[in-house]
């Protein structure tokens, strides 16, 4: 390859990681466009989570990245209790599929804006769930690592949602 300096290579690597995250989000939106809202109320496989729950779960997990990355407050903190701390059949009342789709759009927009402000060094800096002391010992506990983990988590559940097509 052409000789390019490490700074440029670093920027490119981080950009590819963010693009991989964006791509999964696009896949999710594309998939949701092919599944009628009523169909999302079904279980992805008998006895497993509904599409409704998985959608809420993904919105809540993405939303929680805002405070975790030190990029502001969650937009819909009420989703945490319903879609992360509790399982599908908790009996808790859930926002409708249509509301969750609106929430998804709002969270993705906010995250994209916030990610655009981060430098490569910011991505390699600690997230808010690790103390400065622990980060000295465990420098991999940075935003980029969480982004990788969240991208895989998103793909995992998209694989399940795709079964509702």
């Amino acid at each position: 390859m052409k000789e390019i300096n490490p700074s440029t290579q670093l920027k490119m690597s981080v950009q590819l990681a963010v693009t991989a995250w964006d791509l999964q989000n696009k896949q999710l939106l594309k998939l949701l466009d092919t599944i009628p809202n009523e169909q999302l109320l079904s279980e992805v496989s008998p006895g497993k989570n509904t599409g409704h729950y998985l959608l809420g779960h993904l919105v809540a997990v993405s939303d929680a990245m805002l405070p975790l990355f030190g990029l502001g407050e969650s937009l819909f903190p009420e989703l945490l209790e319903i879609f992360i701390r509790n399982p599908d059949k908790s009996g808790l009342s859930k926002s409708s599929v249509s509301e969750l789709k609106g929430n998804l759009h709002a969270v993705n927009t906010r995250l994209s804006e916030a990610f655009a402000t981060l430098s490569p060094a910011d991505w390699l800096d600690r997230h808010t769930a690790v103390s400065a002391e622990d980060f000295e010992k465990e420098p991999h506990r940075n935003r980029l690592n969480v982004l990788f983990s969240r991208t895989s988590h998103l793909a995992y559940h998209i694989g399940q949602l795709a079964l509702l097509k």
Copy 2:
């Protein structure tokens, strides 16, 4: 964070990406340990792919990364036709689940050894499916980008296999 130079940051970023890939492979092995081989013959949801097919598919896709990355020949090229080019119900005879688990182990071992030889610059260099000319115009068509895509692909199907637990 402590001031570290871009070369070190680049190395760390690439290492995190490889670790994210390794982690998904560990998740797959852990999951396979909890599902009896007979259970993998079931469909992950009625009318969808069997666990057997998905396992073969994942082995074939990982195996194909060896030639794609210029790291040698595929170990089990015969899987391509059965588990990538054709769907589950093709009628083609399939290796057993137990054989595929052995293949998975062999492919993962070979990939790990090969990945350990790659420098950050190698990861950002083109893979074998893109010509030098096209790579000039599309520098994102590198090994690292494929690794991101394959990690998401793996997570997607792990999400489906997990439904067989």
